[in-house]
Symmetry: C2
Subunit: 349 residues, 2 copies
């Protein structure tokens, strides 16, 4: 089969790789129906995270189960399934605590599982899925093609935006500032809206993204950044800032923006993968009682909550995809996101 | 009158200072019945926070109201009052949000108020209290001398320990590790116990403090520190750590201990005044979904909740005082705490 490898900075190739096969009785093989490129894939693409040697890449996919091991009970051949951006048993103590990204038996697409068997990356034609019962969620029926982008967001960006909002503690009547207008930031707007936030500020300078933010429930747009952005957000909320900020980028600047945009005693929910730092400014946090909570989002656990609303069309997070390409053109997908010509690119085999 | 000044490293003096007088109609003058030395007073005492020029010090006191301005309605002459370790109006938006330490009109003992009038430090014979209606809480009657130490803890350490527990989110059935066996750490044990924690680990190597920790509700004692301490705490909780850690010291080592002692998805509630750092390790927090929340404790708001239990004797946080000296011997009090001969020193004029 063919799958995506990263060779180094701005060097993405769609190469022939070994066909996956069942390695354990808890495995499944899934034929990818759709995959996509994540903002965090751009860190190695841009060379910010160096690539020591060529390796498989991609961690978001949905697809059709083609084979299952003898111990797999929750999904069957022919099922349409959503995979989170990691695999997990969904039964260990960390999974039970709602932190399946810290599963004691889990791992990451494109690297080895606990038994030392390689697990495919998601930007390929097929993927061997370890711990299939824990990892995969089957939809009640095989969905229409139009629904696939929305379902695919449950693999990462929608669940991740939701995690930012949940980690911060967004609830009915909350005021929220969202830092980052990428796919995750937009999904965080949608998540805050779902959770009942009364006012949601999207920080964005990009007209098309502002439009989606409004669709998703943003009540205000702030184009300013740095001191100016902070001042504008504070101005909207009695001069003190929003109850919560959702940090969806991962840079020093975005975290700083988030921390300074919340009121004393507020919370920052953060999900931006920290790009080589920064450390958090403890003295500022201490003086203002601003808390920080978040991290790599345990999206597997959120699928159960979000899937019904995707299936009914109550939420349409797939709106974040603004370019669709054949999987074989994956290199173009990276380039489009790198050059900010696309917010998020959907890939279909 | 006489009051305490710090002149520099290990140089504490009880000097003659100007008698305070009412400066605004919202002021009160309080005759100090008891004051004490805070662990954070040791930062300048030890020279870790340098003292540029001699200044008044001390921020914890209870006492008797001797005079009130014409606009003061909530306290009256002769009342016994508890003052938090700061002054606040208790009506501004930050106070209403429960963060009275960020009061828009508040400030700190031993420095100027918003009108530019000097506010006395607490380790003295009398204190001018700005915003008396917001700042002071009167007890129903003048308490017995035996109750005074317990009431005095509501000025800081008990409220601060409580803030660590509340910031972390300790609730019925929680598992908790408390880092720090000073007065605040011990109060954090008591606070976690009050909030229903099912298991509370006190990290302490000090037998007398371990005894108080047990009295306050600790179920386990861990003497180890660093990697060893972390391993021991993890061992107690399924190998993954406690739900919550309460950081009550303020050093890099104690924060590290706290962050590494909680399970994935857990929370660190912190109240240790950061001693010149450290910054928080964002990558570790991100990977484990450990959150951090806390800061300078808004104890004024906690008095209402905690005072009734102090008055009935249901909680006896004043047990943290293990030395009592005349106020005039304040320099000895600092030395005793610096040399760890005392956990916390009570001073009576």
């Amino acid at each position: 089969m063919k799958a995506t490898l990263i060779y180094g900075e701005r060097d993405i190739r769609f190469d022939v790789v070994p066909e996956p096969s069942l390695q354990a009785e808890t495995d499944a093989i899934v034929r990818v129906a759709a995959a996509c490129v994540c903002g965090s894939d751009l860190w190695p693409y841009r060379g910010i995270a160096p690539t020591a040697e060529p390796h498989r890449i991609g961690h978001e996919f949905v697809g059709i189960v083609e084979a299952v091991g003898s111990a797999v009970a929750n999904v069957a051949m022919g099922d349409f399934v959503i995979a989170p951006f990691y695999f997990c048993d969904n039964t260990c103590i960390n999974c039970r605590n709602g932190v399946s990204t810290s599963c004691l038996n889990g791992g990451w697409w494109g690297s080895d599982d606990r038994d030392g068997h390689f697990v495919d990356g998601a930007q390929g034609e097929r993927v061997r899925v370890p711990l299939a019962d824990g990892t995969l969620v089957a939809t009640p029926e095989v969905p229409d093609a139009a629904l696939i982008p929305h379902l695919l967001t449950l693999a990462d960006v929608m669940g991740t935006g939701h995690h930012a909002a949940v980690s911060a503690g967004v609830a009915e009547g909350s005021t929220v500032a969202v830092v980052g207008d990428g796919a995750v930031g937009l999904c965080a707007v949608l998540a805050a809206h779902r959770l009942g936030a009364s006012r949601i500020v999207a920080m964005s300078r990009h007209v098309a993204r502002q439009t989606i933010a409004r669709e998703f429930g943003a009540t205000d747009i702030v184009e300013g950044r740095g001191d100016d952005g902070v001042a504008k957000v504070k101005e909207l909320f009695d001069g003190i800032g929003a109850d919560f900020a959702l940090e969806c980028v991962g840079t020093k600047e975005s975290m700083d923006q988030a921390i300074r945009s919340v009121r004393p005693g507020g919370m920052v929910g953060y999900v931006g993968v920290p790009a080589g730092g920064p450390e958090l400014p403890i003295r500022t946090l201490f003086n203002t009682n601003v808390g920080v909570r978040g991290g790599v989002a345990p999206v597997r656990g959120y699928v159960d909550e979000l899937l019904p609303e995707v299936l009914t069309g109550a939420i349409r997070p797939g709106r974040v995809f603004d370019l669709e390409l054949p999987l074989s053109d994956v290199a173009q997908a990276y380039a489009a996101m790198d050059e900010r010509r696309a917010t998020k690119v959907l890939l279909r085999p």
